[in-house]
Every structure is written in C-alpha cells, then in structure tokens.
C-alpha cells in the first residue's frame, strides 16, 4: 500500500489540564510509532470557540496532527483510542494525500506555463485600469 497522508484533529474539553492533553498526545504518538508510521506535524491550537455546542460545551482545546502512514489499521486504532479517551469530545480524520498530489500537480503545471510565456499578466491587468479612468472622467 502506498503511503497516505492524514489529518487528525481532535478536541478536548476546555477544562482539561494541559498535562493530560500532552499525555494523550504521547499515547497517540506511541501508537503511530508502533505501526511504523510517521507524525509529520503536531500543533496545539489551544482553546478555541467552537462554531456550535458539542456536549453542551462552547469551547474546546484543539489539537492537530499530520500523519503519514501506509497502514490503514493505524487510523482505526487511533480513532478507537480517541473514542475511548475521556477528555476528547470530538475528532476528525481526513485523508488528504490525493488533494496534496493534485495541488502539487497544479503548481507544477502553473510554473511550467509561467516559464513558457512570461508576459501573460500584462493584458489582464489593463482593463481594470481603463475602467477606472472611464468612471473618473464621468
């Protein structure tokens, strides 16, 4: 199985002590390491206001992780852990490698096109300027 990239976000109760959040992150890290996957990034977004109430709470402590794995079982295991974990009120895992691939492809395409004809943006910027002068004249 080829390598896949996942985004994992989970929200803890806002009154959870940060040490407990760190502990939770550590256990997740451990699980990831067990399955020989890699954590690309961990970000603690901190306490944020949620757009709607979750379990009667308006705020939550957001944690974001980016995981590179080629083992689908890992996600299952992570989600099971998050489901069981007490402070976690919401989590979301998204596979994003295909979109990243698409993005890279588009960026490369654009780069190549820009290299081929460098003076494309000149005519595009002209019309707005003309319009402004027209409105100023009247």
């Amino acid at each position: 199985m080829e390598e896949r990239l996942y985004d994992l976000i989970f929200i803890c109760r806002p009154d959870t002590p940060e040490a407990e959040v760190d502990k939770l992150i550590a256990t997740l890290e451990h699980t990831v390491a067990d399955k020989s996957a890699k954590i690309e990034k961990i970000e603690k977004w901190g306490r944020k206001r949620m757009a709607y109430r979750v379990r009667k709470l308006r705020e939550g402590f957001y944690v974001y992780m980016s995981i590179r794995s080629n083992h689908g079982e890992l996600i299952k295991e992570l989600e099971r852990r998050l489901k069981v974990a007490d402070p976690v009120i919401k989590y979301l895992t998204i596979r994003i490698d295909e979109e990243m691939k698409r993005q890279q492809k588009l960026a490369k395409h654009r780069e190549r096109r820009a290299a081929r004809r460098p003076r494309k943006p000149a005519p595009a910027s002209a019309p707005p300027a003309g319009e402004q002068t027209a409105s100023a004249a009247g």
């Binding site: 709607y52 993005q103 707005p128 003309g130 027209a134 009247g138």
Partner: protein, 172 residues
C-alpha cells in the same frame, strides 16, 4: 495556500456579488443622466426593494462588502460609446436617454485571482465569507467563484463544519 489576504482583497479586487440582481430591477427607475450626484441616493432607495432574495444575509456578511455599486453606470453613460472594458453589453446594452445603464461588473473567482490550488479546511476565516449567516453555503452565482473552486470550497466548508470550525446552522 499562502493567501492570508483573501478576505481583505475583495472590496477592491473582487466585484460585488449581488450587483447583478439589483441592477436589473433598478434599471427601470427614471434618473437624470449626467447626474452622478443623484445616483447614490436613488441607488440606495432602489436596493432594498430590488434585492428581495439575496439581501438579508448578503448585506451583512457576504463576500461583497462593496455591495451595490449603482453609481458606476451613469458616470460613463453619455460619454463612452466605446464600451466598457470590463462590462459586457447585456440586454440593456445600448445607451438610451433617460434610462440608467449599469455596467454589470464581471465577477471574478477570488481563488483564481490568488492562484489557489488547495482550499484549506482548517482556515475558517477564509471560508467564512462563503457561508450565509444561517450557515448555508453561498451559491456560485452570488460569489462569482469558478466551478472548480466552488467544488473544492464546498468540500472544505463541509469538513470545517464537521470539526466545529464553521457552523452547520445558526444557533438559537
């Protein structure tokens, strides 16, 4: 991706979203040509009645903070038969005396302007202008987003909703 300035740009770069609907309605309103001063007042009086469907949410929160730009038309009415650079000559294209002719400003996809290849669901502040106050996703005809970006945008908004970054519906 690298576009923190997306929400800031629209007033200047992106055209108004609802400009098309009111423009048609108020076209019938009689107004003296070559009187730019009269335009803003008549435009304001015409706007509330002329935009029944899109008004409530669009005015306060939509991407079109520029809103209604009625005074564009008369200013170039008498002088410029050469045709506006950006304006397409719609049904009311030819200039007639006594009638307001509005240049329907062409809406441009904001993501295309910024060359966005991936709409990040994590950046709620970028997505927020594309939902209504009630939580609905704004249609393409209001925002001017191109088909491809609207497709991505929809997915991004739905993801953001799932992790409580954006509301599904307004509370209360």
């Amino acid at each position: 991706m690298a576009d923190p300035n997306v929400p800031q740009q629209p007033p200047a770069a992106a055209p108004p979203a609802e400009s098309s609907a009111p423009a048609e309605k108020t076209q019938a309103a009689p107004a003296a040509e070559s009187a730019p001063a009269a335009a803003p007042s008549s435009a304001q009086s015409g706007a509330p009645s002329g935009a029944p469907a899109s008004a409530p949410s669009g005015q306060s929160r939509g991407p079109s903070s520029g809103g209604y730009q009625g005074n564009r038309g008369p200013s170039r009415g008498p002088g410029g038969p050469g045709g506006g650079p950006g304006g397409r000559p719609g049904p009311g294209g030819p200039h007639k005396r006594g009638k307001r002719n509005y240049v329907r400003k062409k809406k441009v996809c904001r993501f295309c302007v910024d060359r966005v290849d991936y709409i990040d669901y994590k950046k709620a502040d970028i997505l927020a202008p594309f939902i209504q106050e009630r939580g609905k996703i704004l249609p393409r005809r209001m925002t001017g987003t191109c088909a491809r970006h609207q497709r991505w945008l929809t997915v991004a908004i739905k993801r953001a909703q799932n992790i409580a970054l954006l509301p599904f519906a307004a509370e209360f």
